[in-house]
Symmetry: C2
Subunit: 342 residues, 2 copies
DNA sequence: ATCTTTTTCGGAAACGTTTGCGGTGTCGTT
DNA sequence: AACGACACCGCAAACGTTTCCGAAAAAGAT
């Protein structure tokens, strides 16, 4: 019932608690013989070290905190999977919180994780997050922090991102090469760096192709399927549809996709579609969605790795930002204009 | 840099640490006046209680552990989302581990969580898990445990599940009513209770419909898309295909779906398909997949709620198992035999 | 004015570890 | 024979809280 502690073990063996502790940690001051006895006894009595006590004394825990907008989203759960993977290998365990895209909850979450004395923090900010006091305070406390995906650039932390600008640029270039000319963009909120970068890549590609940027074809929204549907709605109300659309992510693309289909708009004959890979569903719709593949799992792995590195670099440490490669997966939804059905 | 503790606060205020602690917890022994002073000072110096120390002294933490086969799977990440939701509301934070479907890692995970002195444990076992010593040991230590989805029935814990038997039964009945007669089953491993129940529901529905159970149409496999593809392969090698298939879950159904399509087999004209809802992709394929909807988010919520309830019921407590309702979402992939295209 | 009650607080131990420091005992060297 | 070196281990403090047990001061009762 009550906990079996190191003291109990010591009593059973007739040695001191310090000896037990040292034996368990393979300290050189302890003879091989007693080490064996201690380990054997620990085994026998199912001794389980109390990590809480250990953390208190060491002033640092063996858990790392993770904050994401929503756990259930495919992209983030994949990232978390990656994080857990390397955390596990390194003997850490992860505490996961979701902000539900609200700043208030994100703040509560960071406080809770700090209160739990996590060794470090991995965060992707919410869409509402335009003030960063909570993150700055984490930094000031000296808690290692690395941002991923949704990062705030002016914060001096390690970051892992994709090259949103180039990815969007390439996606649009692909559309242009495929014969599309009136290319719209289902964008995200302007505040988020990621969204801005994708927009800028989109715009630059238009410019570099000698195409005009049409304000009305830029329709901002959120990250979810319903936002895509709403966006499609906006396009449908226009005199003339764009002939291609770059969506801020897959759910939005899929939402637009189904709304368009309902309206009898053919993909890609009437309008081509390109997304950013948040979901495996993209490959299954008909025609399959052309999409920018984002290495979510790998993003989680590297973010965690960066954090672990920061743990060991005592004292002076310089933030690194690693940019992961994306890949444009060309599929049916952006078939060259006028091409026959596959 | 160094931590600002309750002692520091006490020193600043010229009172004892005990007084500060009591003031912060609104203890009646403390005058309103000093309470105000303490709270104000705590605010001023950004005092953050050390939950680690608190846990050590209280001998119980405010974190709950979660173990799932794989975080990245849509079903489980949705469950986790639900868990986090109610945990958050109750002031708990969750530690999440994945077993990667291996028993070894599941064992390590439970030990790590116990070592971290979680207040309770929420687990869905791996496919490999046929011995339960690690879970029994958790129980013996008196750590509250509730199982969800993949449960081991002989363990005396609260459980939250769906009625797999009935769900499979209804799904097959639906197929029969739609005119299908040679109904196959892409099953999971036999060891898992959940798989067995679905199989039994399937078999009972056949029997009650006066249809013969054909051994060869039962093809066991795993939970992933590739298992579905492999299963389709098996069917394709037969002289005669089944005219409908109940898949153990959506990924498997989707896998079979795409393999069949590659082989020129039409869905549902040549073979109808029904899945168990693990993924949103089911609604997007063409034709859309008929599937048994499982309330994953709700499952997470109730599992966490059950655990929280168990926290307060000191002493005598009787395990409850709650069965969540499913719903058969009838879509194109099981269109009545011979019916025209929508 | 003394005694009892109440209010308000402090001392100290405890939760389970780790670790600096010091203390034995043994052995080899001179 | 004496001394240093070394191997091995125990004491006690510390990590930041909470809480039992009193104790002092204030208030009320007689």
């Amino acid at each position: 019932m009550a906990q079996f502690t190191i003291k109990d073990l010591a009593r059973k063996l007739g040695v001191s608690p310090s000896t037990v502790s040292r034996a368990l940690h393979d300290h050189p001051d302890i003879s091989e013989d007693t080490k064996r006895r201690v380990v054997a006894a620990a085994e026998k009595y199912h001794y389980q070290p109390n990590l809480i006590a250990q953390s208190l004394q060491k002033k640092s825990s063996t858990t790392i905190g993770v904050i994401v907008p929503e756990i259930r989203h495919h992209f983030f759960s994949t990232v978390i999977s990656g994080i857990e993977e390397v955390a596990y290998e390194a003997g850490y365990i992860i505490m996961v919180c979701q902000s539900n895209e609200t700043l208030a909850r994100e703040i509560v979450n960071t406080q809770a994780l700090v209160a739990n004395r996590v060794a470090g923090l991995l965060v992707a900010i919410s869409t509402e997050t335009t003030r960063y006091d909570h993150l700055k305070s984490v930094l000031k406390r000296g808690v290692p922090l690395v941002q991923f995906d949704r990062v705030v650039e002016e914060l001096e932390t390690s970051k892992v991102v994709i090259d949103d600008y180039s990815a969007a640029y390439e996606a649009v270039m692909h559309l242009v090469r495929s014969g599309y000319r009136r290319i719209g963009h289902l964008a995200g909120q302007e505040g988020i760096a990621l969204n801005r970068h994708r927009f800028e890549g989109y715009r630059a590609a238009l410019a570099d192709s000698g195409l005009a940027f049409e304000e009305k074809f830029l329709v901002p929204g959120g990250y979810r399927e319903e936002d895509g549907r709403r966006g499609a709605e906006v396009y449908l109300a226009m005199d003339e549809l764009p002939d291609a659309i770059l969506a801020i992510n897959d759910p939005v693309a899929v939402g637009a996709f189904s709304r368009f289909r309902e309206a009898g708009v053919r993909i890609p004959e009437d309008v081509a579609l390109v997304g950013f890979s948040d979901t495996p569903a993209a490959a299954l719709i008909e025609p399959a969605l052309t999409t920018v593949y984002q290495p979510a799992f790998e993003m989680g792995r590297t973010a965690a790795t960066l954090l672990l590195e920061q743990f060991v670099t005592e004292g002076r440490f310089t933030p690194r930002t690693v940019t992961l490669d994306t890949e444009l997966l060309v599929r049916g939804s952006s078939r060259p204009k006028g091409a026959a059905w596959a």
